[in-house]
Symmetry: C2
Subunit: 387 residues, 2 copies
């Protein structure tokens, strides 16, 4: 743990089949005006809308609703939610859904009483939050982003065709999150595997950085093992409670900062995928998977020892009689085999990306990286590789 | 993650070489009356006492001191601290030291304004805390107990020759903890390895339970790998910053509940060692190590699949052409080799335990356990094995 850090994560997690029974207790900690935020109708289909609104009613809450939050939540929806919060003097934003709804809830939370233009101040200039923040609570129905236990808020500005993420401080983290793995049973399979690869990508973005022998790297390897193991079981049987519950928790600890402590981190795959998402609206995890393969095959040589370790420790590659390059590349091959095995498309084309988008996606991606800093041409070449 | 849980851990961790620079900021969150709690003179020898009191003075704090907190903190010291808190209207208890001092700080924190007899109510009857709690902050100088980020408070009642632990809720957790690995450099080697085995034991107490395929088990294996690796480096060179910092963080996440979520857990080795500690005052981790070997050799067959997994995943035991029993026992042998390698005595005798204590230790141990519930005679036999 060579690099200094401060860690503080004040989200209270209620996890398990009976987690919803804690909602009424949590609601007592907040005022009466609730903004209920959700996506399309899936929470109605599974009966969750009815059970949540029943609890809100029993607790005597005044409920304002904002639904239709998009998979890539739009800034226009953030402004609409912020207006509703001001008009109805909202005391708690209750986000029911996946990472998109929760990211949007946090964005509304910081924007409602922002001084000046929230987009410019918070998502472009990354200014500190200097206004009142409305508390957020969440009921999670889809895993992947860990938004239920962190400050992440990825928002798409549709006017500008720009999707960008911001990590807010602990004051913006959800105050509580209810995680019942059973609520993820009905997520369509393609969304489930998208979530699984999103988790894997979060772990890799944190893992592939630094040359140190950090405890965090060992923790990540443990979480990766569990994720791979449970992903295979969940693909075979989506009603395998243990597998789905493990995946849900891998997602949460995979990005609640525990797996990133004292790591310099990478995040370039996410940077590129955010722009792919802005142009195609494709499921985030699928985009991450497609981009990861040519990206890692291009950058591995700059952090070869870590890629060798990954191949051996995570994928069980036998290193005997092989060069470091061979071992590292075999690890990436195994990652791709896993991606195929769980049913993820392997090309951008299959995700609705057209050739004329490639240059635009490359040129609007935020530049960052771990072992290697890419330029726009290098990103373009990576995109062509997986087109 | 088959079993439901609620997880909430509001301790703010400042970790690293510059962590102390955060103390002044933290102090602003509390009133002016500070109880400075520490052990013997070691914090004076390393200059820590001077630097902490200088910061307290700069921040304009009124400092009351209570020093001489014992390695197995005595209930009489808890009462003394509680009285000082009431008399001086203490706003923050600042514990500077290892787990003993921090455990004592939490005990003082809940006892100062307790209704009735704190020992009976909180450590015997395990009642809920229904009185005001004084905030605790910590500056850690010795790793092992994770008391810096949990609610644990193990106290010895000297009159009753009874050492017993209580895990308090998050309202009693330290508000902040300052973890500078450099402060652990001067800990005597025997204390360092005692801490290392304490961490390993915490991980094993959580790991050896359940037959499930829990994400937590994979996380534990990752932490165990890092601990073993860094322990060897730290024994070879106590000034290896990366090794010492990894050990410090393994300790914290090894018992801040992350490595225990959705686990039924064991803790019988700790139950027995607490009574060994009450009779001998031996370093906690050394006692744990001595007891662990005959304990695990006795109970492994009741959870054999987990012990086989442990042998293979943690110690790299080659399972080929071996029975499950052989694999499991080879894993325990490797654990004992590791214990010897880092310099831990292997018998109770070497820890100051006399033969006439064995029956008393056995008969006063709290009965619990994971794969197997022991009775007093079984504990006695285990103690005889390692005498």
């Amino acid at each position: 743990m060579k690099y200094d850090f401060t860690y503080y994560n004040p989200t209270r997690i209620h996890f398990g089949k009976e987690a919803m029974s804690k909602l009424a207790d949590e609601l007592q900690n907040f005022g009466d005006n609730i903004l209920l935020l959700y996506g399309k109708n899936s929470i109605k289909k599974i009966g969750l809308y009815d059970s949540v609104t029943a609890i809100l009613k029993e607790c005597g809450k005044n409920v304002t609703e904002l639904s239709g939050i998009k998979p890539n939540p739009a800034y226009s929806q953030v402004l609409e939610g912020a207006k509703l919060c001001r008009e109805n003097r909202i005391d708690l934003i209750l986000a029911v859904g996946g990472g998109s709804v929760i990211d949007c809830a946090k964005a509304i939370s910081v924007s409602a009483y922002a001084k000046g233009d929230p987009w410019q101040r918070y998502w472009i200039d990354f200014e500190s939050v200097d206004n009142d923040v409305i508390p957020v609570g969440t009921i999670l129905t889809m895993t992947g982003t860990a938004s239920e236990m962190n400050g992440g808020s990825v928002i798409t500005n549709e006017e500008l065709t720009l999707k960008t993420g911001r990590v807010f401080p602990p004051s913006v983290y959800p105050k509580f999150s209810i995680l019942n793995p059973e609520l993820t049973y009905t997520v369509p399979k393609i969304q489930m595997v998208s979530g699984i690869f999103d988790i894997m990508s979060h772990l890799m973005e944190q893992y592939f950085s630094g040359d140190d022998d950090n405890t965090t790297d060992y923790v990540i390897e443990g979480v990766m093992h569990s994720l791979i193991n449970s992903a295979r079981k969940a693909v075979a049987d989506p009603y395998d409670y243990e597998a789905r519950s493990n995946i849900m928790w891998c997602a949460t600890i995979g990005l609640n900062r525990i797996t990133g402590l004292s790591k310099t981190q990478d995040w370039e795959v996410h940077n590129i995928e955010h722009q792919l998402g802005a142009y195609t609206d494709c499921p985030h995890g699928l985009g991450l998977s497609v981009i990861s393969m040519p990206y890692y095959r291009y950058i591995y040589k700059y952090g070869i020892d870590k890629f060798v370790r990954y191949a051996i420790n995570v994928w069980g590659v036998n290193p005997e009689d092989k060069t470091k390059d061979e071992i590292a590349l075999e690890g990436i091959d195994r990652l791709q085999e896993f991606s195929k095995e769980i049913g993820i498309p392997q090309t951008l084309r299959e995700l609705g990306c057209t050739e004329n988008m490639l240059r635009k996606i490359a040129d609007t991606s935020i530049l960052g990286g771990g072992y290697k800093q890419l330029d726009y041409d290098e990103i373009y070449n990576i995109l062509k590789e997986c087109y």
